[in-house]
Symmetry: C2
Subunit: 497 residues, 2 copies
């Protein structure tokens, strides 16, 4: 390209430590409100420096992995920043994993150190003990000697987050510092970033949604308001008192807030609604209530958001997850050229937020990233203007009597019934149909509806081949930490009436 | 660093075309208000696509350079985006250059094409004609066939901007697309970016300050309000009617606005004050008036801002240009470690906004970038907390009687006299002192002051060796397009009474 002298363009290989630099600039600004306590950026940075010292004394070196078992809230934020400060990567381990799963994850990740919360230690944490991995009490992180900050190399790993996928062993999605940095930037190019933004999180911080927001907040210099799990009352109070401007929710949370009549404050400018396609009736209710809903499509492997609908356009294309983020490229069905508008195929994603692959899984990596695009395993289509509509996990598609049935469509229709709070639809082997459409339904408190009544309700709305052959009632649906419905678990339980 | 499988982390090598992607998302949003006309992002994108077609037809190919002679306002913005869309770089040529300078720049830059405004064509543009370079009327850019957009390779050049420096021939500072992209991001991490921001520019768009804001605006999706030169009345109107939230000014403009009693609107959140150190009295006046002043240190070679003071801290450290931007590293005096706080030395800058060097000037490039830092030629110091204080161009330092005299300090003191509107201080050879301190002063309209009176005024404020041996009165001071005082011109004119 150069006709003159050769020159070496400077890329962005490294950045200063995000938290340290933020603390330099905004020491007195609120960083985190969690568990009834506030931390400023100066305080969070001081804690992270001490925690980094404690980790280093325990042997953590650049390139290592630090597994986090249990610490939540501000302890998790401190551990995250401390790990990054040392040039290491964090491996958040879901404490709800079964023993066998936890053992697999801990063996696979090869952490230098486990950081375990007191609560878990009290429970005896049998798996880590059995593995003989060195561990550190999360509460002792505050006792370290402050370690100096160092530059973030953007190609270095920041986190390995295990996803159970739909089949087989869990896989550790590797996320680099660059994935999070560029994710923060490309998201800001869509949403803007206001110095007084406050971001409400009601899901675990160790999920990609929480982790990425903690890192973004340090870059932007804004505050995170973190709840320990979801409760309508806590959100109501936060909306009233915490100056929340952005909230990350999953559909079932939004539905419960609307049901509870929670007032959405005028300063709230974005509700990022992720964790799977949102039922249409829910979107319509939220829109009618004037809530700034931004349906979002995101994955662990894209360090959170991949596409987002601006709230002022949600009403114009109900059901869409918006366009890809500024720096993100989408393809439907094929790496070389998308299928025509309206035609459904696998969603492929490319861009600087995409994971470099799965930890120690070269085949899975190659398979997922073939052709330079992340093959998400989700099925969707784009409309003429490039807006994405996510239909389902490809593995969740039901083939019944030679027809494709998209579970989300049936769930959507079920949720329109006034007695239905939540619904999960899945396929089970069936000698006559290949697969039979099955549904598990959660009713609203104090409401009643029979399977026959729901089927009659659906019959007016859906083609006959989409109607569930079986409807089961339960108190709750299995969802992962990010709020995604685990249809696989429904399938495996064979939830069939 | 990797103990598991090798993996390839995705960096940010390319981005979508900024304007095209912005237009996709925000077609109806205001992009540019200039010359009494508004362009939305959809309109600007359409014009840029046509202009790219016209340039391509005229032979412009990826890696080429397109010289811009004269087109201003929206025509310049269209040409800029069209040039980038083709993978080429723009070379804005200052039309006020003397024939010899212009000839040098045009020969040096080796443009594939000159784009010349009608106004200049009418004047005959003797230099380009003499050089026999192919040219295109700027006005004909609208007649092209729309060219498709393509990805921006971030290491590709976006612009070559000639700086005259203090001695010798002009040098073309190369700026990559990455320099501008990362500049936009790192600036946003300090200032935030609000979807309804409007950025006022009263300096030429072809200056690095203008050019970088045009590109940032497309990334952020905000509007630029561009004036054709500076006038108090036009700014007053813009402040009242255009919803301006950010303005880029140089000190003399700010002084004139304050003198004229222009009202600063409440929505205004940042006045980026660049183009050389701001006199302390001016900062104090602005602060007293509640103006959100953000003194800034920037250079062509850093794609504009390198350090910026947040307006809410300006009053706490009057005279500082703030800290380096989020991704920018500063050193004073030495690449390895800064001089101690308070000690003055050359300002060195490193980061992703730093130019890869000077076009076809390998020695100058090597000299400027030795040790991996840009050697700015400016002298300054940082305080204990890392805030930068810019003193002067190193080449402007006056050595008088064995003492260092910083011209800006003397100018500062002169500007505190109520009759003084502007002042330039420089050294001239002197047999007795080595160099003699000399001053050129512009008085306010309707004010009078003699050299003796000013000297008496200074004597109360400055050490004797800093007092000008000569004070000359003029109607204006020579400044470049970015508002920087050209002390070299004062020196060369030997402006001595």
């Amino acid at each position: 390209m150069m006709t003159g002298d050769a020159y070496r363009a400077f890329g962005l290989e490294e950045t200063p430590d995000w938290l340290a630099r933020r603390a330099e600039r905004s020491a007195d600004r609120l960083a985190l409100r969690a568990g009834g306590k506030d931390l400023t950026y100066g305080e969070l940075d001081g804690l992270a420096a001490r925690a980094a010292g404690a980790l280093a004394r325990a042997g953590v070196r650049p390139g290592d992995r630090v597994a986090a078992l249990g610490p939540g809230g501000s302890l998790f934020a401190v551990l995250l920043h401390a790990t990054l400060r040392l040039g290491a990567a964090i491996v958040p381990v879901n404490t709800r994993l079964a023993d066998q799963e936890m053992e697999f994850v801990l063996k696979d990740a090869q952490p230098r150190l486990l950081v375990v919360s007191d609560a878990l230690r009290a429970r005896g944490e049998p798996v880590p003990r059995a593995l003989g991995l060195p561990s550190l009490a999360a509460e002792s992180l505050k006792d370290g000697q402050p370690a100096p900050s160092r530059a973030h190399q953007l190609t270095d790993l920041a986190a390995i987050i295990y996803t159970s996928g739909t089949t087989g062993r869990p896989k550790g999605a590797m996320l680099t510092r660059g994935n999070f940095y560029h994710g923060a930037m490309t998201s800001a190019l869509g949403m803007g970033t206001l110095p007084d933004d406050r971001w409400l999180l009601c899901m675990p911080l160790f999920h990609v949604g929480g982790l990425s927001i903690l890192l973004r907040a340090a870059l932007y210099g804004i505050a995170v308001v973190a709840h320990d799990g979801f409760s309508e009352e806590a959100v109501r109070r936060s909306f009233a008192e915490d100056g929340v401007t952005i909230a990350s929710l999953v559909p079932v949370m939004l539905r419960r807030l609307l049901d509870a009549g929670v007032a959405f404050p005028p300063r709230l400018r974005y509700i990022l609604l992720g964790g799977g396609p949102a039922p249409r009736d829910l979107l319509e209710r939220a829109l009618a209530a004037g809530v700034p809903i931004a349906p979002t499509y995101g994955l662990t492997e894209t360090a959170s958001q991949a596409a987002t609908m601006p709230p002022d356009e949600t009403a114009l294309r109900v059901g869409s997850a918006g366009r890809p983020l500024f720096l993100t490229e989408l393809r439907i069905g094929s790496e070389s050229a998308s299928l025509p508008a309206g035609e459904a195929g696998e969603i492929l994603v490319r861009g600087p937020t995409v994971s470099p692959g799965y930890w120690r899984r070269p085949e899975a990596t190659q398979q997922a990233l073939r052709g330079g695009f992340l093959h998400t395993g989700d099925v969707g289509y784009v409309d003429r203007d490039g807006y994405l509509y996510v239909l389902d996990r490809r593995d969740d598609l039901i083939l019944s009597g030679g027809e494709n049935v998209y579970p989300a469509e049936v769930e959507d229709a079920l949720c329109r019934h006034p007695a239905v709070l939540d619904a999960g639809v899945f396929g089970l082997p069936d000698p006559a149909w290949g697969q039979a459409v099955c549904a598990t339904v959660v009713l609203r408190e104090g409401c009643a509806a029979s399977a026959e009544e729901l089927t009659a309700f659906l019959r007016e709305r859906l083609a006959g081949y989409k109607l569930p052959r079986s409807i089961t009632f339960r108190d709750a649906l299995p969802r992962n930490a990010g709020g995604k419905l685990l249809r696989r678990q429904l399938r495996e339980k064979g939830d069939r009436s």
